[in-house]
Structures are given as C-alpha cells and as structure tokens.
Amino acid sequence: MVDQSHKLSELVEDLTTSGEPQLNPNKLTEVKKICKVSIDYIEHFYHLIMTQLAKEHAEIRLSAFQMVSELFTRSHHFRVLLVDNFQEFLDLTVETDSDEPLPPPKEVARKLKTIAIQTVQEWQAKYGEAYKKLALGYHFLKQVKKVDFHDVQARTLAERKRQEEKKKRLDRIYKEKVEKAAKEMEDAKEEIEQCLTEINNSMKLLLPTEFEFGDLHTPTTPNHSIASFTSLPNGKSSTSSDMDDQPCCSKDLGDESKNGHTETSIRTTADEVEDCSEEDDDDDMEGLVDEDAFIRNTGLISHKYSLDLNLSTDLKLKETEENEAVVNIIKDLHKLISTKYLPSVQSWVQVFTKAGVPEPTLRQAIDLKKSLDRAMKKHEELHIDYKARQRRVMKAPEGSDDDDDDDDFEEVPEKEGFEPHIPDHLRVEYGLDASSSNPLAGKESVQPPVRRHAPSACHILSRPRNGATDEEQDPTCAASTLRLFKQLTACGVPSVSSSGHVTTSGGCLGPTDQANDPSEDRKNAPVIPFGLDLYYWGKEQPTAGKIIKYVYSQHQFWVPIEVEEEVENKELAAQMKSRYITFAGRFEPVKHRCKAPMPSGALCERQDRVKCPFHGRIVPRDNLGKPTNPEDAERLEKEEWKRREEQPDWRDPELMRDIELATGEDLGSSKTFGKHKKGKGKRKKYPNLSDLKKSANTSRSRLEKKVFNPSSMRRVTDVMNKMDKLKHAKFANQFNYALN
C-alpha cells in the first residue's frame, strides 16, 4: 500500500516533470494500473496532481493536465473529486482568474489553455448532465469568461480551411515544378542518354585494351617500336604546328632574345631539346633498365610509351598518349555527368516523389538516375589516373631565324632523360663542373641573382640558365625529368643538361663555379644585423674600450696627482669585439597527455609540459590512467589520503545534505564544499523542463551587462570623483564653492 502510493508519487512527479509535450505511455499505464486498484489511490493521485498543477511552470501543468484528462474519462471518483474543485482547476489551466495568469513559458501556456478549453468542452458534452458543477463551470467559461467554445471549433474550421488552401497552393507549386521538371527531362533525356552511351562506349574502348596490356610487365618491343615510330613524326609535326604558341617559360625570354642574334644558335638547340622532350613526356621512367641498351641499339633517344597497369587488386588506368583522346572524353563526360546531369536528375526525382506524379515519369527519372549512377560507379572503378593537365603546346621562341642558324652547329644527338654516367672528358661539354659530380639545383638557384647585376654582358649566358630553371617547371622538357631523377636518387647523379649552355659559358662562369662549395655554407649561415663587432671585424683596435679621462683642474696651484688618462672600459671593449646572441632554443610541441583518470571515466586530455592544473605533475601513465612508476603511484595515493583526511567522512556532502533535509537545519553542506561541488549544487532539479530563470539574451540584458558591470561602474565613479576633487582643489579656499 505504502509502496504503491510511493510509487504513484514518483510516477506522477516523473511524468509531470518530463517537460515533454506528450506523456510517456508506459508510465501512464502504470499510473492507471495503480489508480484502478482502489479509490484511495485515486485520491492520492488527485492530491498529487493538484499540487503539480499548482506549480509555476506551464510544462508541469500541461503534463499534469494531460494526466488529469486521462483519469477523468476513467474514474467516477476522480471526476467527483475534480469537479468538486473545478474552480481551482479552471484557474490553473484555463486562466479564469486574470490575477493569476498561467506561468511561463508562454508557448506551452497557450497550448495548455487551448487544450484545456477543448477538453472541458468534451467533458461537458459527455458528463455535463451528470456533474452539475462541470456544467456550471462550462457555462461560466462560456458566458462570463466569454470563452467561445464555438470559436475553438470555428478556429479549427478556419485552420482547416487555411490548411486546405495551403495544400492547394503547394499542389499548384508542385504541379508547376513537376511540369517544368518533366519538360526539362524530356529535353535533356536524349542528351543524357547520348552522354551515357558515349561514356559507356569509351569505357568499353578503354577496358579491352587494358586487358590486352594487362600482362605487360616486360614491355613488348614491337609495341614499343610502333609507338615510337608513330609518335616520332607526330611529334615533329606537332612542334612545327605549335611553333606559334610558346610555353610561358620561354615566352618572356623571347623578347630578350630578339635583341642579340648571337644567342639564336644556342636557342635553337635548346628548343630542340624542348621539342624532343615534349614528345616523350614524363613516362620514360619505366623501362629504365633497358634504356641504355635501347639507346645504344637504336641510337635514338628513348621514346617509350609503356602502360603500366596494376591489375592485381583493382583496375587502374593511366592516361597515356594512346588512350588520351578516350580518356579526355571520359573525363569531360564524367565532369558533365557529375556536375550537371546527376544533380538535375536527382532534383527531378525529388520533385516527382514529392508531388507524386504518374508512374512512368518517375520511373524514367529513376532509371536515368540509376544509369548515371552506374556510369559514375564504373568510372570510379576504372581509377583513371589523369595526368596533371598542363598545356602541352609549345612554341619556338624566335620563329624563322632558327632555321638558318641551325646549320651553324653540328647536329648532336639529343640526349634526353637520364644518363647515369658521363665520361669525364665530356663533363665540361655537359656544363658540369669536372670535379663536382652533382650539379645541384642549389647552384642554379644561387647563381642567377649574381648574374643579374651585369645585365648586358651576361645576358646571353643568363638566358639559358634561367631557361633551365624554368624548364624544370615544365614537365614536358628534359630538365624536369632531370630534376625528378635528382629527387629520386638522393645521391646526386649527373645528367643531361643543355649543351649550348656549356659552350658559351666559358670563363665567365668560372669563378662562380668555384664558389660552389662556400655557397652551401652560406646557405646555412645565420643572418645577423650589422653591428660594431662587424665593423671592427678582424682588426685589432687599440682604442677599443679606451676612454680618455680629462682630469683637469683649473686651480692655479693645485694639480691633481698624475693619473692615467686613459682608462680602459672592459665592458665597452668587450662590446666592440663580441656580440650577444640570445639562444631561445627551439619550440618542441608537447606530445604526452596528462591521462589522469577523471570521474567521467575518461582520461585527462590536457597536454601540459610539466604540470596539469587539475591533476598535478604529469607522470607517465598507462592506458587506464594508472601511473606506471610505482613511486608515482605511491605518492599519488598518499596525496589522496591526505585530502580525505582533510575532509572527514562525517562531512560527506551527500550525508550532510540528507541530514539537512531531514532536520531542516543548515549544516553548511553547500557552503563548506561549495568549491568542490559548485556545479553539483547548481544542477537543475528537473533537467527536462525548460528553464524559466534563464535570462533572455536580449539587447537590453547585454547592454546591462556592459553598463552595470562593476569595473565600468568603478571607472565612471573614479572619473567623477576626480572631477569633484579637482573642483575642490581649485576652489578649496572659497567657501561658496566648497559648500557645493
């Protein structure tokens, strides 16, 4: 009995403080079960509910009201009880007393009121005959409070009408949308299908070839030769046709080059290098092994187009010159599909499903979408490795002059790509320092600024140099390949450089070449501002730090004792010869975490260097947060023990709170441990209810916070006091001012 009523109280409290718009049906059933047992429970329930209804929170009232309406339709006794106190009930739910408005939050209160009015009307219709006070209450609401029950219905009618209108409007909009979408689809369908077939076909084109090359790990020579043969003339033709548009790297140089004809010869060779390099792209790293042999055998520069397919795990397609066109198409189509067709088809499907259009259209749209998706997926599966798109068009810098100058030079077989060994006697020719075997990028990057100071003389020389660095950026020329190799093989391997550069570089380059080694050091050397120490660098300064003292007495007879006139100030002397460099060290990010176990079960995530502000010194801990070192563990335990002792267990806050609740006296549980349990004490009793005390974030409140905050107030008073004081100081002696 006591059990049950206790449970009933708990249930009622739970249900009413849930803060939800609907009651938990399970708990409600439980309540009903208990209430069904006996009238006593109903009475108990009634009292509980009335207390809850009187709470100053609309959410509690709403929930309580919902429970009331549940019970009201079920129990006669409950009806009697409630009707007996119907005035109060109406006050609390329908707001009959204007002095006691429904509590906040407003939204819920409004909802409560409408629900209550509707429910009262229902009750009146059902029970009004039998319960006189209910009927009286209804009439009271109707006549005195002018609650228009018909208005409630009328309003719902109006609402319904409004809803219908809204629906109609929506329908109309949808219809328009659907029509538009259908039309669009009709228009775009062909295009899409075409696109689909195209992409499918191109993928089909790609795939079979791929399977042919699937086992091509050792390059098949016939294929190769064909490739080289076919591509060579192509390359030539392309160079000639592409003469007009130069790569940007050589474009700016083109203007310069027009000044002097001396350089043209160099230029042509360089260009030829470029031309040739253009042809074989960057795909010649495969077949490294047999390159030498190949070169030796054919006497040709290595033109290799090998398709490296790794089919073991998944499809991987590399764009090559052969399939370039197809891949290009695929790429374009893919882009088209993913950016244009797929979104539009998706939107159509959305529109159709929302508006509910006839089957065929929707199916069409869905089919389209499916096929597009399939195409996309297929494309994904291909894993096409697109080349970085660079404009591969090139132009010789100085159109026709090249041709006539060409014959001045002996045709040298172009060297492309990697040449592991360069005979020593050829090194000079290759523009390499004979002694140093690695012409590093550093050399080239250091030199240009030096050269710039002598524009006219070194002009010719600088060009190819610059060109070389720029060429490196160009993936189509040999220089880039060179760089690639340099990067690949960390140890410097000598490689091809433009031959023209070597021939002309001559003596001018000599000194800079020699300065190669110091330049490396120079790179590492720190840069420091100019100072006295540098001024006196390497000089022995006799006067450094010496101060001449003028001890000169003007007295006629008295002469001071002879003193050394020069005094050496050691500090000053040191300053002249030395320099302070503050060594700040290097920042090292903290890698460890505090990892102390927290009450939540997680580990502390703080990354302090030495000491965590919450958990003290950071010691190595395992994954459970236990210190790995036994001495640390011991120390921590001791600390814990100490802390416990400071806080005797009779002052256990929980216990104290219980005692306080029981006795009603304040033992200071909240005070003593306010620091520890501040958060706990402030925790809301019913977290589900919306907080009424939460101050609204209005402009007013924000301003108030600013204006009335203590520091600003103090500032203002300070200023005012100062003004006051000023006045007093000024007119202190004048009584007529002093008084006010």
Partner: protein, 400 residues
C-alpha cells in the same frame, strides 16, 4: 430522527424540538443539487436576491445589469428535477428598468404585491408586482448601496436607505417622501438593517469602520456604536476607538431572534454583537474572505438549534455556527465571487448569487432509503451508476 418521533408521539418533547432537529439536520446537509436549477436570466453578476416570507414561493434577484427577475421556486411538476422559472423580468427592454446595477431588492414584508429595489442609478423604486411598474421612485444624490424595510414593523413603514452620502435616509412609504435623516457616519453607508425584534431599532454599517445602532424615534443621534474592543482603550489605538472593524464594514445581519447582530468587514473578519448593548461577543470565525467594495448580503438560518450563518466567502459560501464560530462547511459551486445569499426558511434551502451570473440552489440532500445495513454501501454506487451512465468507471482493459 426516530427517537424524536417517538418522543413526539409520546408527548415527551416540545413540538419545536423535533422541528429544530430536523431543520438542523437539513441545513447541515445542504449541497449543490443536481435536480434544482435556476434559470439564467442575468447577463451579469447578481448582487442581491430576496425570497418572500409570506408564501415562500417567489424570489427576486437583482443584477449588475440593472435587471430584476422574479422566480417561482415552487416545484409543481411532480418531478424531482426542477428548474426555477423566471416568472417575470424587468429587463433591459422595460422602460422602467434601473439604468445601473441593482444593489438591493426586497419584498414588501407583508405582501407579495410590492417590492422595492435600489440601484446605482441613484434611485430607489417601489414596484407593483402585478404590472411591474414602479409605483414610486425616490431620487438620491448618490449611489444607493442598500435599503431595508423592517420585517416586523406595524407602526411605521419606513425604508432605511444607505447611500454614498454619509447620512442614512429614511423614506416613508406612506407619504412617498424622504422624511428623516440619521447623521453620524463619516463614510458611505454600505449596509442598513432593521432589527427583527424591535421595530424602531436600526443598525447601519459604513466605510468609516463603524456600525451604529439607532432608535429612529430618537432624533439626537445613534444609540451606540459597536466597538470591537468593547471599550478597552488599552487595546485600541487612538483612531480605532469605537470601530467595529479595521476596514470597511459592508455587511450586517441580525439573527432571526434579533438578539445578536453579525457584521462583516473588509478586514476579513466577521463579528457577532449583542444587539441589546452593543457588546462584542468575541466569537472567532476565523478568516472570512471579503473583498467586496459594496454591500455584502449574507443571511442566517432560522429554526435550527444552533443557528448558522451563511456568508459569501470568495467564490464559495461559508457556513458557520453562529455562536461557536465553527466553520461547518464550505459550499463550493460558484466560479466567481459570491455577492449574496438568501435562506429559504420553509424548505431550508439556500440560494446564492454571484458574479458568475449563476443563482445556485443549495438543497438538503435527501437520505436514500436504507434497504439493509450491509448492502447499502455496495449498492449505493450501483444504483447511482444505474441512474446515470456517466457515473460509471471506464477503466479500459489494457490497464490490467
């Protein structure tokens, strides 16, 4: 009951005893009865009701809308359920209607052919019940809060009128003129009452916190003023001397025998005075909510052995035992403040009117015929349920 009957049969008891016992029993069992309704005519709060004492059949009610309604309380339909019909109305369409709120209506104590009403439109009208036309209209300078005719007067036919003016006016029905004024109050007069015991004794209550008792034959002034502290100066602050309440006194009522006078004030107190010497009997009724700015009409039972007083108290009517001050019951049924109530001495019924436009009839609950001792309780519920299906519980099976 049976004991009383046998005693009566044997002639052991005074006939009055049985009557008293039964009356008391009935008063104690007053309840809002489902079978008794009063027609809703008033569109605004009801300020006053009066049941005539000659036949006990007709009831007058005056509302804030100026309407006066005459009800027939007699149930001749042989049916348990009865809604008191409005016999006639002085409605808004009548050209004689009070323009403002009707504050008091009262039957002429000796005949139902006449009644008197007073209103905030500064008039008091004497009506002919047959024609519903005023036979006489008295004009005053201020709002009329109340008037009263002596229920027992044979030698005079005076109406005491309390208005916004400090003076109590005495109007003579015989001459149709205001013949006398009683000076003494320093505030509006909210309630006037003739003693039912001595026809010349009049009690008046005012906003100046005082209750004065007059003998209208004496011109010089009031007989005495009721003092809540019984002249004990030490208890009273200088200003509170000779005051009946610490606020406005807005209700007065003599007991049926006229020996005591009850007064209510806005200090939420009710006091019982010895009407002979004006002594405060110091009966403690507890808090009697009273916020009315106008007169409050309350009543006492007649013919009970401990008498009861019915006082409007907020939205309910409180029933106190007059001499002990014990709160017997609260009659809760109104949805707004109750302003007036009247007791039907023949049937021990109480009628109350309030701001919620309702006149509620509180009828003694008849005891159900006992069948057998054991079965009563069990059957009670069932018989009730049989009467009305709405009384049945409706637990759905899923709550098992």
């Amino acid at each position: 009951m049976l004991g009383f009957l046998t005693a009566r049969q044997a002639g052991l008891d005074d006939p009055l005893r049985l009557k008293r016992a039964e009356t008391t029993r009935r008063v104690l069992s007053l309840e809002l009865n489902h079978d008794r309704d009063v027609d809703r005519i008033h569109s605004n709060g009801i300020n006053t009701i009066d049941i005539e004492v000659i036949e006990g059949r007709y009831m007058l009610s005056g509302g804030s809308d100026g309407v006066i309604v005459l009800y027939d309380l007699e149930n001749n339909s042989r049916n348990a359920h009865y809604a008191c019909k409005a016999v006639c109305t002085v409605g808004r369409s009548s050209r004689y209607v009070h323009r403002f709120s009707v504050e008091t209506v009262q039957w002429y104590p000796h005949d139902t052919g006449m009644f008197v009403s007073s209103s905030f439109d500064k008039t008091m009208k004497v009506w002919d019940t047959e024609t519903l036309k005023p036979a006489e209209v008295f004009q005053f300078e201020g709002n009329v809060y109340c008037h009263h005719m002596s229920p027992i007067a044979r030698k005079h036919s005076l109406i005491a009128v309390g208005t916004k003016d400090q003076k109590v006016q005495l109007c003579d029905l015989k001459s149709g003129s205001r013949i006398h004024i009683l000076q003494g109050h320093r505030g509006e007069v909210l309630s006037v009452r003739w003693s039912p015991r001595h026809e010349h004794i009049l009690a008046t209550a005012s906003t100046d916190s005082r209750v004065l008792v007059w003998d209208v034959r004496r011109a010089s002034g009031s007989l005495f003023s009721l003092d809540q502290h019984n002249g004990d100066k030490s208890k009273a602050s200088s200003q509170a001397v000779n005051t009946a309440h610490n606020g406005r006194v807005n209700g007065l009522c003599f007991t049926a025998d006229g020996l005591y006078l009850l007064s209510t004030g806005t200090d939420d107190r009710m006091r019982l005075w010895n009407s002979a010497n004006g002594e405060n009997t110091l009966v403690n009724y507890g808090k009697v909510c009273n916020e009315s700015r106008k007169g409050l009409k309350f009543t006492v039972s007649r013919g009970c052995s401990p008498e009861f007083v019915f006082v409007p108290c907020g939205s309910s009517v409180a029933v106190y035992a007059v001499h002990t001050g014990e709160l017997v019951s609260m009659l809760r049924g109104h949805y707004d403040n109750v302003d007036c109530c009247d007791f039907h001495p023949d049937y021990q019924e109480l009628y109350s009117g309030g701001k919620d436009c309702n006149i509620l009839a509180w009828v003694p609950v008849l005891r159900l015929p006992d069948l057998e001792e054991g079965g009563t309780i069990a059957k009670e519920g069932k018989s009730q349920a049989a009467v009305n299906p709405a009384f049945q519980d409706a637990w759905s099976s899923d709550e098992d």
